[in-house]
Symmetry: C2
Subunit: 431 residues, 2 copies
């Protein structure tokens, strides 16, 4: 891995380079995505069948679009029982963590008859996109469905592209059933997003679409945003490790590669105050790349978006981490909690040398759907918050309104909204 | 106002009609907006000055772009001291309500050395868009700035278009100062959104852009979504009143008109179980329209998007309200709290006959920036939530990781992510 000393130019170039991976920069695919969405809106199911044949090389019709009970039972026969056990253990942790995110309706009443409050309501129907293709990620199924279930969503509609044999991977189906998907449709890509956003004869319109996907899925989600809600536009995965000379180079190297293996656009960055650690990690990375099955992807990802940055001070390392706002941030330093207090921007923060990133991907409980590509500056991990919404409650008694009615009328008059003023005035004019 | 009996066809037609007002349907303006954004990204300040001259007929340069301390002092001299007093009272209520929305970091520790948590961090810099032009809404300034201040945002950058004299309305400036804007720039439209999203020589890039605006502003916000965060795409205002025969027709009529006066696309709907009330409200509306200064706008809005719907049962009325998911919902029935329990979708719920909608616009405390156009099915009122973000915290001890490391390795192996498995494995291989 390349080693660079941190200075303002390096930092600036790095930031610009990383942002090039953003789904906002892929305008070239946008027209195609809009055409697919338009076709789904107009031709509904038919468009889904056509695109599934074209892109997934699978023949699907109104009969086979929906995953059957038999297919799920078959999946359970095919999946290693030990994986089912592990999925159940992971689910327990994920549920326990997300339970703590619940939000509650509240109100505040005063003796003059005023009640103000905030009512929390779960979304009614949610669509969960699960990628298919070569990579099958049952963990992603769990992470997207559990927060919706905990929030109290009534119906969870899952979509995932079928393989050329017209089937969904057994691991995916088992994870979906365990997590609580209500119905699963075999459709993927921008066409699946269109189906969830507009509804077809077979697939009901949802209130929100969540789940990671490729660039077509990301652009389709962006296009339907506003018509329905979406989680966030997921970009390629990232890890940033802050380490000092106390860190174990072997652990740091292994953790960097755990994200680099995702895809060639993934980014793995070490920011360290130790020149010695920098060299050791770089050497260790070379060794691992030789041994790992996804070495080729890792090498490409490291060549393009992998960096070992040597900082003068821990402050400088932390500033860089905050600027990059990485999806995953590991802190492997002598006082990791002290460093944590200074972290403003990160999707998930892994503290100490035994909190390796994959622990969070699979098992610990926090969600692994995290803001990428610098968006941790303003977005949050997927959570129960994503599946609820709030309504304000305003309830005034006659007395309470009387006390303020003149002020409201004057404020409305200042905005030249006379019908606003009138609606308060009429309530007291007859007195 | 037209009176219709509620049936499935009426309901369906009505829903489709209302959705036509959505900013998602204005594709024709999109190209122009994208061109403006592109120009701002490339030419920065220069583009702002050019567009301000073109659209706002005001000459602005690097010297005059930023509102000065002198301009604010001048504004205080021009604004009615009574309005300043009312603004301060309103601010007190708005702050008190939003304080209750604060969210806190939490953690959960277990004796085996596991710590899981969620860290809450305010956004660093936020842009607030305030419309200018003929209508000046100081209340909007308060509602957009207060939740950001309560959340702890470090810097609030306000933008608002200048009048042809190159000045911002005094009411707006006073409201901005009172609410706590840190800096105010005289620029509006899509160009202001572009400046906040990308930064220019004068205006710093922000993390999130909030605030209502016209169709150009809405489309620009949608276009930059993902690069920065945005609040929501605001559509025209709406009110839906659920009333039974106990309601006062004069109050109901006045409240309907308070939203109809906003603009010609605004929608005002009464759903009632009482045919008598329907007729009385319709008559009362006619009377008010004659008297009110914005009668012409009101009449156009009512002709296009105003309805009095007569429902067979209260259940049917409630179902209709939930389907329409109105920005403002008033409940004027004998048992308004019982009706409230059945409301799933509404931006703000006004309960009882003395909770007229303008009370919420100006004074009560809850935010008046609310989801419009059916988006209350999945969006929430603007709140402190909009100005914070969360990071997950994961911290495992060696013992805690040891207990689960085999399960994590097996899960990663099932997903064929060998570098993920490796990053856990290396931590225990030397033992």
């Amino acid at each position: 891995m390349r080693i660079q000393h941190l200075d303002q130019t390096t930092r600036q170039n790095l930031l610009e380079d990383l942002l090039k991976r953003s789904p906002n920069q892929y305008g070239e695919y946008e027209q195609g995505v809009l055409e697919i969405l338009d076709a789904v809106r107009k031709e509904k199911d038919k468009a889904l069948f056509d695109y599934t044949e074209k892109f997934d090389h699978a023949k699907i019709d109104a009969e086979t679009l929906r995953v059957t009970e038999e297919e799920i039972e078959e999946a359970y026969r095919l999946v290693d029982p030990d994986l089912v056990r592990i999925i159940r253990k992971a689910l327990e942790n994920i549920r326990a963590y997300h339970e703590k995110q619940r939000q509650y309706s509240w109100f505040d009443s005063r003796p003059d008859g005023t009640i103000l409050g905030q009512k929390v309501t779960p979304l009614k129907r949610v669509g969960v996109y699960v990628p298919g293709g070569k990579a099958v990620y049952p963990s992603s199924v769990l992470m997207n469905i559990v927060p919706a279930k905990v929030a109290g969503v009534e119906e969870i509609v899952m979509v995932t592209p079928p393989g050329p044999n017209g089937k969904v991977a057994p691991n995916t189906l088992v994870a979906a059933r365990e997590a609580g998907a209500d119905v699963i449709y075999k459709v993927g890509g921008a066409q699946a997003v269109g189906a969830l956003a507009y509804g077809t004869e077979s697939i009901p319109k949802v209130d929100k679409i969540v789940g990671p996907g490729n660039i077509y899925v990301a652009l389709a989600k962006k296009a339907v945003y506003g018509h329905v809600s979406i989680d966030a536009i997921a970009g390629p995965s990232e890890i940033l490790v802050i380490a000092d000379d106390s860190a174990n180079p072997r652990y740091v190297a292994a953790d960097l590669l755990s994200q680099a293996e995702h895809d060639e656009l993934a980014s793995a960055i070490l920011v360290t105050t130790s020149e010695t650690l920098a060299k050791e990690v770089s050497d260790q990375v070379e060794t691992f790349v030789q041994e790992l099955s996804r070495g080729e992807i890792i090498q490409k990802s490291l060549d393009r978006y992998g960096y070992i940055l040597v900082a003068e001070t821990m402050e400088e390392a932390i500033d860089t981490a905050n600027e990059i706002a990485s999806e995953h941030l590991e802190i492997q330093t002598r006082n990791p909690y002290e460093v944590m207090t200074k972290i403003r921007n990160a999707g998930a923060i892994f503290i100490g040398e035994y909190s390796s990133e994959p622990l969070g991907d699979y098992f610990a409980g926090p969600n692994h759907v995290l803001p990428t590509n610098g968006t941790a500056k303003f977005f949050s991990p997927l959570s129960v918050d994503d599946f609820i919404k709030k309504s304000s409650i305003i309830s005034y008694s006659k007395d309470a309104l009387y006390k303020v009615h003149e002020d409201i009328e004057a404020f409305a008059a200042a905005e030249q909204l006379t019908a606003h003023a009138n609606s308060v005035k009429v309530r007291f004019e007859e007195e």
